[in-house]
Amino acid sequence: MMPDGVHRHGDHLLDGGLDQAVVNALARTWSDPPSWTGALSAINHKTVSRRFMVTTFVFFLLAGLFALAIRLQLARPDNHLFDPDLYNQLFTMHGTAMMFLFAVPVMQAVALYLVPLMIGTRSVAFPRMNAYAYWVFLFGGLLLFGAFAVGSGPNTGWFSYVPLSGPDYSPGKGVDIWAQMITFTELSSLLVAIVLITTILKMRAPGMTLSRMPLFVWATLVTQFMVLFAMPAVMFGSTALILDRLVGTHFYNPANGGDVLLWQHVFWFFGHPEVYLIFIPPLGFISSIIATFTGRPIFGYPAMVMALIVTAFLAFGLWVHHMFATNIPELGKSFFTAASLMIAIPSGIQIFCWLATLCTGRIVLRTPMYFVLAFFFILVLGGLTGVMLGSVSLDLQVHDTYFVVAHLHYVLLGGAVFPLFGAFFFWFPKFTGRMLNERLGLWQFWLFFVGFNVAFFPMHWLGLHGMPRRVWTYPAGMGWETMNFVATIGAFTIGLSVLLFLINVVLAYRHLPGAPSDPWNADGLEWTIPSPPPPHNFDRLPVVRSRSPAWEENTSATAIGGLAADAREVLITSAVEAKPDLRVLFPTSSIWPFISAVATTVLFIGSIYTPWAVVWGSIPVSIAVAVWFWPDKNDTQTALSLERHP
């Protein structure tokens, strides 16, 4: 233990004590620079993550508005509110934005905020690359919505099957923009995955061995490895699509030796794991929330971790169940049926562990808990319909009908959006220093829960009665009228509930911040520091001795020191045991990640119009990146002056 007092090494102030001067120095060191150029140069993980979360949430709202438009059109048979082309753009934008611009990145965004707090460090790894990833993501999203706004949105569905999306059947720029948006977002999520994996493996507080890591951090780690393996597949797929469209290659053209099914294999090799990219991080939210509101650690920690890892592996072996209607050999189908049903096992184990935790703990019912309990109800239904879809003979009837639309929303909303709102409620005080109103929260919850089931339960019925998905209208007299109307009412109820959430946030911002550091009596390290956390997160780096550090007696007294307080020094620890290893000097704020992202955007968008953009566009990118990495004299000086002999 360090005695309180100021430590110095050469010219440097060192952390470790509780001296105010040291704390002030730390805060100054880790702050983002002021003014608007400073805003573009910000690299603090909390700033980047906050922007990321807000951006993904805005995309969620826009995609939600598209969903309401879809439901308006389908409220009545033979409705001509929108023409087919606009309707097709609406559901394509809805699905694409929800999957690529909201569900996957929002989970990464939350992790970028919480992981450093949960593992006790002052930054994420590669903070400049992290900022670059955010800007690239933002520009990709703006590109997609901008294209829709000027009337050339994509209209081939969120999985854009060839040849429909190929050069012959989708002239115009819509599909090019769709494919290029994929390149943007996948680049961004690959970079964030690298950031998160490195952070988790190398920057945990001393003592936080792998077997003491919070389950949310495990879920994030597993997910980011999945990103590394899944995303390259779709990036290859979308690049080949662009090449077919722009320079006349024939990857997908059967007339010239290409193959239409290649796209489906590549897309679903990514697309199925993507569902788990969306679904695994919320398992971590749920574990944090359940542990907190039952007042006990999650039952069966090793089983939970194993289940996460097994899910990740199995997720890569299921993609063909999206293609049962193609002419795949029967034996192949049976294999994928078996694999599809087997993935229910690890999910089941996790659910049993949570139930055991709930049964043996003292449950405190607060808003986040409601969202988690709803998760159980909805996800079990979604999982059951998933098991049904995994069976070939059944799938061949309900594939591509509203039954699938119901199933995917039960899984995605139940598995991800409900826990996500629970997580927003739970961590909102940590993010902002403000509490959300519980009463409004409960209203939001009940409207969401009821609206959700009213909107999506009837879709099972519609699918079983033969209503195909992606139809801009349907004839009267098919018996589908009532259920469609009910579904529309449900959708608007969900809209109302989301509106309540926004109001709740606005109301919270009308109060001064004043949330306590630990309003829920929770177990993680993030609750041992103020809400919102100071720029440097921890005044003193914690040392971890158990899986629930905030519930340990004396933890707050256990800390280590010795890092510079006036330079961005970070402690690197070993991957498994989290033994202190190195002190590393982290980069300072810089505007060059932003400028590099702008240059990258010019290259990507230019390449939609001419392949030559790849050539001339790479010049500004190289220049910007070179300046970004150019060694700075002051930084080198600081690094040298921090060298110490053991």
Binding site: V260, G300, T326, N327, T337, S391, S393, D400, G466, P468
Partner: protein
């Protein structure tokens, strides 16, 4: 407790897999010896239908947007796509099968009772995926034979003055470039075969009933019935439109 629950779920799932594989096997076991062969080609956004290929007993002919099958006899449908992916689906007769360009497939089914069933495209295929359906008529063997014979015949020659005028207009305007009427000079293959249009139940791939008003509306402005269809509108005056409709209605 958790262990027991997990073991139970595993056993349940293994049971489900076994049941699934057996069901599949049973479904794919229809006898193919005496089967009727039909070829259906999916096109944006209608169905081209060919009967009597593969040395079948049914006469050879081409029609569109309507399928007739004899009750109790196994039907093997060969599936192809001319442009993008479509999916052949008659919910009351069988599950789905994709029609994939460059990858011919087949689907086998049998109608066990007479009746009319609705089929529709189940894979998103562009603007009018929603309005790409077709009726399937399952009828006795005798009725089917009769229907097939009639369909294989050439078009009835235009009789009275108005139908003759209609046929001339059909030939002069672009109609004949896209449509075939067997036994006349109209030999286009871009659109559906119209040789026996008058005998069909519906127009434009199951979108509207085949009656006088709808036919006139369709020819004058196809987009008003099926926005996005590839058939262009034609600027006929009232008299011309009446003649063309009369001609098409005479093609029974």
């Amino acid at each position: 407790m958790v262990g027991a629950a997990s073991v139970l779920s595993v056993l349940l799932l293994v049971g489900l897999v076994a049941a699934d594989v057996l069901t599949d096997h049973a479904l794919s076991g229809l006898p193919a010896a005496d089967a009727l062969h039909v070829k259906v080609v999916g096109r944006q956004w209608w169905w081209e239908v060919h009967y009597g290929q593969n040395g079948n007993d049914a006469p050879t002919f081409t029609t569109a947007n309507e399928l007739h099958v004899p009750v109790g006899r196994v039907v093997i449908v060969e599936l192809e796509a001319a442009d993008v992916i479509h999916t052949f689906w008659v919910p009351n007769l069988h599950g789905k099968k994709d029609m994939i360009p460059g990858r011919p497939a087949t689907i086998v089914f049998r109608a066990d009772r007479p009746g009319a069933f609705r089929g529709q495209c189940a894979e998103f295929c562009g603007a009018e995926h929603a309005l790409m359906a077709f009726p399937v008529v399952a009828e006795s063997r005798a009725d089917f034979q009769q229907w097939a014979l009639r369909q294989s015949a050439s078009a009835v020659p235009a009789g009275d003055e108005i139908t003759r005028r209609g046929q001339a207009l059909f030939q002069e305007n672009d109609c004949a470039k896209c449509h075939t009427v067997r036994g006349t000079d109209a030999t286009g293959t871009i659109g559906p075969d119209l040789t026996h249009l008058g005998s069909r139940q519906s127009l434009a791939a199951g979108t509207v009933a085949n009656d006088h008003a709808n036919l006139a509306k369709w020819i004058a402005a196809p987009g008003s019935i099926k926005p996005g269809t590839t058939m262009p509108a034609t600027a006929f005056n009232d008299e011309e439109l009446r003649s063309v409709v009369a001609y098409l209605e005479s093609l029974r």
